[in-house]
């Protein structure tokens, strides 16, 4: 037999003005299991709370109904109050007789009747509640940052500077990400390498940061404060303890391979550093192309290595560590425009290049040493067409979204081209020019001054005739068809999430949107958190952005991580799903519906009808479950139930309500 105490608040005249509080109390006294009813002018005030506390003791109350303002207002207050009493904080139900009763109804009789019903519902529900207990979750004071681009590096530095250990997992052989490929950065035109490489070495040398380059996340389990992450460090075939990074091996390696860092516009060797300033500043062997590893012949690098660092027997290494927090900084790639835009030749014309290729062309350490030359014949292009929004804002072919940085970097490209080829002509086909940012519009205006011709419209077709790339399009401002005979075309292609993001995000049960960008917990209020507690977002993995925005977000993510790692333990939310194993069938309908990956099917052994039976049942991970209850509806037998909002308690409420 439960002993329910009902506390009804006047809230000054807020409630009492419309609801006959004493009549409600009178009714409450007749309800089953109610042993004490009390009204109070302000229940939430100190004397009010003291009254509740005293009543609980003197009437041996074990469940509490508070009829007052919205539970969204004071439920935490009551829970805290109950924590100091013999009553379990979750044996509480709040009847919202202010926001949803006294404030919205004028007729005293009607409002009083409704308040009575709300109290009846609360009493019916509270009678069915069970005591729940939070557990303490320890926090491992270490963070994992996935991705070593500018966002990842910034996050890692900020966390490390606050005194916590950080591991960066970078899939490529060097830190730097996309930023280090760029030539200059808008709008200030600083040399990208000059501001990026110092960050790289700072990360590389930071005592609190471990860089795992050429590594990927293999496996994840656990939850906030306790992510157990297995990292696969791919075989580098070089002992980094011995290697001095002298580069002798690279100069002698006979095998040439297309250089991805230079966007396929030059070659590198099979043993290589991604670029001269790479961090770590040591090479790896590209196993797929190395003659020694692929064919067993060669071994030149081992011969020339002065320290004997080459190890052809090297293997992938798996290490598992526990992290308290994880930051995704996995970045972006450019959309593969070739299959999407056959009308631009689909890749058949070598002089139709992407913006990133242009960055390398114009970069002094790039394949042409900074001379703008067209890839087909190394001649200097005199007519250059830049096409914006290739794959962006084009739901028919590419993505519906705006890639945000292209307006600015296409202006930068036009500016750089006109700067390097003074007698050249540059045409920019655009849909809109979007330059919200400090100094951005001024930069665009300068490009116009430089002589770039902006044509508002898309290019409908590019074809090659007699060494020229003929670009046909429309100038939508004059409604004229436009044809430009260009020597080179630069496509400013859309940003899309980096390869493998779906698999990686699925491992961490981080949500993705339709375009596979990672989804933040709330677009406005929780922009760097994910719905999986303890996992945060930095940079372009969340959506296209430019460098300043990425760095901002990196700092924000870092501050969230620091806040978390500062705690020694976390309190778990006990209002989570619970499995009645006796009737759980283990068919796993609940597994897929859980947005947090909190449910697993495990084999368990039971005694049934005096036999031992091993069968699958669902298991809820209390660290991951957030208590939404979606799983409960998929469970036909009702084996899965949500503590605090059980099927039975909701049905009781419905029944109580139907009696009005």
């Amino acid at each position: 037999m439960s002993r329910i105490g009902v506390f009804i608040c006047y809230c000054g005249s807020n409630i009492a003005g419309t609801v006959d509080v004493e009549a409600v109390a009178e009714m409450a006294r007749t309800l089953p299991d109610v042993v004490h009813v009390e009204t109070n002018k302000y229940t939430c005030s100190d004397p009010g709370q003291e009254g509740v506390r005293n009543a609980i003791i003197s009437h041996e109350i074990d469940r509490v109904v508070v009829a007052a303002c919205s539970p969204r207002m004071h439920e935490p207050t009551w829970r805290k109050l109950l924590a100091d009493t013999p009553v379990n904080p979750y044996m509480l139900e709040v009847a919202n007789i202010r926001e949803q009763c006294s404030w919205v109804h004028k007729d005293r009789e009607v409002a009083t009747a409704k308040a009575m019903d709300l109290v009846k519902m609360a009493v019916a529900k509270v009678a069915r509640l069970q005591p729940l207990h939070s557990t303490e979750i320890p926090v491992h004071k270490k963070a994992l940052v996935i991705g070593g681009g500018i966002a990842g590096m910034q996050t890692a530095l900020d966390i490390a500077d606050a005194g916590f250990k950080v591991t960066i997992v970078e899939r490529e052989t060097s830190l730097g990400g996309k930023m280090v490929m760029l030539d200059k950065t808008f709008p200030t035109m600083d040399c990208s390498a000059c501001i990026c490489t110092p960050k790289m070495s700072e990360v590389g040398n930071h005592p609190n940061i471990t860089v795992k380059s050429y590594s990927e996340v293999e496996n994840v389990s656990g939850y906030i404060g306790n992510f157990e992450v297995t990292i696969r460090e791919k075989a580098k075939y070089i002992d980094y303890n011995l290697c001095t990074g002298c580069g002798a091996c690279e100069t002698k390696c006979p095998q040439k391979v297309v250089n991805d860092f230079e966007q396929g516009m030059s070659e590198r060797t099979a043993i290589y550093k991604m670029f001269p300033q790479a961090v770590p500043a040591k090479p790896v062997i590209d196993a797929a192309h190395c003659r020694k590893l692929a064919q067993g012949k060669c071994g030149v690098c081992a011969k020339v290595c002065p320290t004997g660092a080459i190890n052809y027997e090297d293997e992938d290494k798996l290490t598992t560590e526990t992290y308290g927090a994880v930051v995704f900084a996995t970045g972006y790639k450019l959309i593969d425009w070739k299959p999407l835009y056959p009308e631009y030749g689909g890749g058949a014309y070598p002089d139709v290049i992407t913006g990133l290729q242009f960055e390398r062309l114009v970069n002094a350490s790039g394949p042409t040493e900074g001379h703008i030359l067209r890839p087909s014949d190394n001649s200097e292009p005199k007519d250059v067409v830049i096409i914006k929004c290739v794959g962006s804002r084009d739901p028919n072919k590419g993505k519906a979204y705006c890639s945000r940085a292209c307006c600015m970097y296409s202006a930068k490209h036009a500016h750089q081209y006109l700067d390097k080829v003074p007698d050249g002509r540059c045409y920019v086909f655009y849909m809109d020019v979007r330059t919200p940012g400090k100094g951005y519009d001024e930069f665009y205006m300068n490009t116009l001054h430089d002589g770039a011709q902006y044509i508002r419209g898309r290019v409908s077709k590019i074809y090659q005739e007699g060494g020229k790339l003929i670009c046909k399009g429309e100038d939508t401002l004059t409604s004229q068809q436009v044809t430009v005979e260009a020597d080179m075309v630069v496509l400013e292609t859309a940003m899309v999430p980096a390869d493998g993001i779906d698999e990686l995000a699925a491992k961490f049960t981080v949500g993705r949107d339709a375009d596979s960008w990672l989804v933040e917990a709330h677009a406005k209020l929780r922009p760097v958190e994910t719905n999986t507690a303890g996992i945060y977002l930095a940079g372009t993995c969340q959506g296209p952005k430019d460098i300043p925005d990425s760095v901002c977000q990196a700092g924000a993510a870092a501050s969230k991580v620091i806040g978390l790692l500062n705690k020694d333990v976390l309190q778990s939310n006990p209002q989570i799903s619970h499995v009645n194993e006796a009737i759980c069938q283990g068919d796993g309908a609940c597994v897929g519906i859980c947005p947090y990956g909190a449910i697993q099917i495990v084999q368990k052994t039971f005694r049934e009808n005096s036999r031992k039976v091993t069968r699958p049942v669902a298991q809820v991970n209390p660290g991951l479950c957030q208590g939404c209850g979606a799983c409960t509806v998929t469970c036909r037998a009702g084996a899965m139930d949500l503590l605090g909002y059980t099927n039975e308690s909701i049905m009781r409420e419905v029944d109580a309500l139907c009696q009005w």
Binding site: T30, L31, P32, K120, N609, D655, A656, Q659
Partner: protein
Amino acid sequence: MILTKQNLMPLLRNLTGAERDVFVPTQVDGVSKFALMDKGTVPDFEQVNTTMPPKDLLFPQTQKMYHFDVDANGSYRIHEYDESREQLVFGIRPCDMRSIVCLDEVFLTKGFVDEFYANAREKLTCVCIGCASAAETCFCASMDVDPQLAPNADVMLQDCGDVYNVIAQTPKGEVEVAAWAPFVEEGVVEPVTCEQSLAVSMEGVVDKLEGMYDHPIWDNLSIKCLNCGTCTYLCPTCHCFDISQDMRRKDGVRFRCWDSCMFSEYTMMAGGHNPRPEKLERVRNRFMHKLNFFERRYGMSLCVGCGRCVEKCPVALDITRLIDDVAAIG
């Protein structure tokens, strides 16, 4: 006395009055059952057996026993339902009349009187119509029922082709028949003999079953059983019930409803233990009850051979085959 079949409907129309409810076999929305006779009802006296047995006239599927509430002083008040109407069932068959013998035994003898049943039974007048022909699944003759006789019926109408022999068998029946005067005439006709194609021999079956508690026959039988309640709900003699209550705060209704020994929660005890946890035990219990337990306690078979379960079992699990199989065991 005889009643011509042409006179049957005029008689029935005459019988329906305000003071009592008359039930006849008919099709209600595609289901054949005993239903209240009113203007639109078309009785079907040709069909041998209704799908639904007539037992719910005496023992409804859901019977509200009483309702209760709490008065101002906090004491419970019990309110009974008024169930005072007289009922006449017209056209009940001899097998179903035999089932009422069984139910009477259960609900009225051995010192236990079920007042709900007793009340309904006292107010029920039965006019039984004998069978001139049998359905494919009828085997009442094998279960000691004469298809043209029902000694416990108030009035027996033996089917003689075009006419019925009218026999008043009880004082209630004599009163009843006396009121039929305008429709009946003097005479006696030879009843038609009812031929049943389905026959089983109960010879020795009851005794054999005594020692067959652990016989493999139960496994073979139960393995195909679905454990649905069709057979028990269509059986005219199955009489298990379950009492529960629907509560609304402090007032509620207490009712009983048919239970089925085929269901998993049948005989489930409060602690979760069930002495009959599996199909095998449940199926064995059902047939042992029909053919052995009841016989031992009341000296008669609880199967009356109406054939409803044989006809309607979704997996054609057939009590007559069981009887044959038991008889065949050496």
